[in-house]
Assembly symmetry: C2
Homo-oligomer: 346 residues x 2
Amino acid sequence: MKSNHGLDDRKLKILQAIIKTYLETGEPVGSRTISKHADLNLSSATIRNEMADLEDLGYIMQPHTSAGRIPSDRGYRLYVDMLMEEKEQEVTEMREQMLEKADKMDQILKQAAKVLAANTNYATMVSAPSNNRNKLKFIQLSQVDDEQIIAVIVMEGNIIKNKIVTVDEPLDNETLLKLNMLLNTNLNGMSIEDINLGMIARLKEQAGIHSEVISDVLDAVANVIQVDDLEIYTSGATNIFKYPELSDKQSAQEIISAFEEKHQLVNLVTQTLAEEENKGIQVYIGNETPVQTMRDCSVVTATYELGEGMQGTIGIIGPKRMDYEHVMKTLKTLMAELDAIFHKEH
Amino acid sequence: MKSNHGLDDRKLKILQAIIKTYLETGEPVGSRTISKHADLNLSSATIRNEMADLEDLGYIMQPHTSAGRIPSDRGYRLYVDMLMEEKEQEVTEMREQMLEKADKMDQILKQAAKVLAANTNYATMVSAPSNNRNKLKFIQLSQVDDEQIIAVIVMEGNIIKNKIVTVDEPLDNETLLKLNMLLNTNLNGMSIEDINLGMIARLKEQAGIHSEVISDVLDAVANVIQVDDLEIYTSGATNIFKYPELSDKQSAQEIISAFEEKHQLVNLVTQTLAEEENKGIQVYIGNETPVQTMRDCSVVTATYELGEGMQGTIGIIGPKRMDYEHVMKTLKTLMAELDAIFHKEH
DNA sequence: GTTAGCACTCAAAAGTTGAGAGTGCTAATA
DNA sequence: TATTAGCACTCTCAACTTTTGAGTGCTAAC
């Protein structure tokens, strides 16, 4: 009884057995089922007594009298916490930078979501790393036609953004060269957070009559890196149909909507990134979730880092009776995999 | 009895009444309901006789004895064909080019899908125009760092693509300039279909020792414009939950999957684009659909053209008892709207 | 402290019934 | 001859009842 949950060893074992069985079947589990469990040799009657206690303590509950028991959110929580303790040390090491070489980052992340979904049979999401602290690596303006200039912005990690800027009259080659020089010497290595008003004023001043172009370009830079621009890739939303408890019309509609309108998932990302203390894997059970429509689900998220404060989120959404053990293992593997990919194609 | 469907006027009217009523209610419609219809003054008994005929002819059917009738695919087809005839002339004019100024084309199309879904309460998809025949407008190589060159490719309609090319050692400024000149003078105004082996050989020859870079860039061009790259934006997939006949687990799962894995929708796009004769609006009813998973739906598609053979597809997917009239009208309006948007921001 | 046994509860599945909607057929009507 | 009224019949659906079986709590015995 060292932990603060106030359960003796036997109760813990029974609780664990209940949860595991429930994870497999999705049906309330009765005393008889548990009594047949190999490792603890107890009659169903004894189990019943213990179950009554566990229910009083709030770890399990009955959907109705004379049904078996199902784990409560609190029960899940205890179970997950125990799992976490076991895995903790292994988890920490996997956060490694997978920076550089990501021309096709979007494709890789999309694929990651897909693989994860296929592997777990749950719904998954992967957010692209936020670019707030990412540094500018290269900016270039080019004249496309008489009225249009294209600004190409490349950031660390080879994230590329473009913006068409419309001008009244074409800029001559020399001016373009000058502006490019100006932008690159001043902005190289800066993050969006580094670019303050003073710097902007300075740039504009130096640009002279072309300050407007600079303005537009800086707008583009800011815009391009905006948080609400946050790309989110999803996969396997329809997996929820595999779990009857989530696939009544109402729930299915809500959950799938969230996956369709990805902005609903942004909460999940920001929340996950906000929880500093636990940078590894996080589990939201039922009402703990930041996304209201997923209150009947469990959500497991992990933060990955591409170095330099660029971090993204991976999430798995499934029923509360999710196979937490497998999910965590798979998350870890995926991280390793991603790592390998980002490094392989040097 | 001018048309070849072999129905006299009265039968036609009754069929129409049946279909319209069914579109509203979603329930099988009985003879009594129709007999109360204002414009044809007939007793239910007469209607029954006519209904029996219509059933023999395959236009309607009974889900079971002593239920009302529902339209068969063939019935819908006739109904839709008649609608089409009415609308045909108006439809043709709306195909106008909405070329130029589409830096944010993707956002506009995404929004278009959303609006369409909100307006119709069906699921919608919008495909970005295929770039097969789109012309290159501007290509530029720039050195990003020692090992990397970025190729920026701008096409008519301001569709921008990037590709990072890795090189063994940095190219000096002069070489870059030369290569840029080479690429632009040769490729400007060409479509991907225009670039043949001869041209490639010529380019490589002129590039001398840097032919490899040219190779990579051309690969990039080809890749970037690939058909399977076909962007498809979707919205309102969960609308299908509004139609009981589509929202049993099985169907919902299948349909929503198609929307999630957009590649399943590619068929729809290619098929639509393939049907040359009818460039306006197309309707696939039930089994007519090119997407197997939508065999219980109706799919209405329209082709839009951005000039120069760049065309995309808009699709609406809903139950067979779709409000065809409204859908077609909305499709038209959307086209007009898109047109306005693409021209407003000159 | 553990267990066997029994009465009790409840949900889900399987029947049962009645109402309602709709049909097909026949005979009467215009 | 085309239309209609009327009636017997069919079938689904919803409401209700019954049965079954899993599971419980409690008590008394080990």
